[in-house]
Symmetry: C2
Subunit: 144 residues, 2 copies
DNA sequence: CATTAATATGAGTATATACACCTATTTAGA
DNA sequence: TCTAAATAGGTGTATATACTCATATTAATG
């Protein structure tokens, strides 16, 4: 059993370190598509969920609203998403464009490869366990 | 069993999301010390490992060398670390200062609280599993 | 109905991350 | 020894992340 007060067992440090190495694998694999891994996630959410306000997206992705403002910008500049006025004059709704769906379709097999490679590296059992623990972590720590 | 090709099960997305929520908890808890969670990790490594080159640190932390160049800067500006010439005229060695040790000592109980709170939220068993999976992930995916 | 609350968003600032490219120094080999 | 390769480090640029503060609009309330 790991000892919580040993610095080597810092939850945050180990999480960020793992995120670095995994993001590197996904970014590298997605490179031919021109998408970063984070951008792939964003585009996918937009492609599945339809038009969404930035606040909705932020809540769904457990991400700060202002982070999304910056993250959506390069996608917009590439013409992969566009912003249209919402019903409420305060809100703006983001939708994926045809170009966005196109680049996403090209990225899909690459993402699938990244997933497959990760499962291969970890083993199916371990990969399942990792995902399980991560989801529980978001659930338990998230709304604190 | 989670299905790898379901976007909701993207290893990278779930890892980054978990990192966001956990980092938020640690940053919030560490706030009175004036340290961010990442800075706490860096200072701790420097306090334990003695003088290190930036390349050594990067390897140890599984982090890009140039990331460290930027991350060390605010710590240097605060006077918590300092850079001295190494034996080789190419190398520069980083060491923690007395002020750095002081702020680290103040941050220690806060970090301990963050660890304790995280274990409480996840449960000891789950927390151990999470850490275990994260370490294995770094090990297996890291040197790819 | 006028004022206040709440909601939706963006901008300024700062840190975190890393790739591509560059310089300086040391080491290895011809 | 002289030169090419390896090593150590930094800068420019771009994205990722989020806090604080500011603005616009809507909803609530006296």
């Amino acid at each position: 059993m790991a000892k919580p007060m040993d610095v080597k067992n810092c939850t945050n440090f180990n999480l960020r370190k793992a995120a670095r190495v995994v993001t590197h694998l996904y970014d590298e694999t997605l490179k031919p598509s021109g998408l970063r891994s984070t951008q792939y996630s964003l585009l996918t959410v937009l492609s599945l969920g339809g038009a969404e306000t930035i606040s909705n997206l932020a809540h769904k992705l457990v991400m700060d609203r202002t982070t999304l403002t910056r993250n959506l910008k390069p996608l917009q500049l590439q013409g992969w998403i566009k912003r249209v006025p919402g019903e409420d004059r305060r809100t703006r709704v983001w939708t994926i464009t045809a170009q966005g769906r196109k680049v996403l379709a090209q990225a899909l097999p690459l993402w699938q490869k990244a997933q497959k490679d990760t499962v291969s590296l970890l083993g199916k059992e371990r990969w399942n366990g990792l995902l399980d623990h991560l989801k529980l972590t978001v659930q338990k720590v998230g709304l604190g």
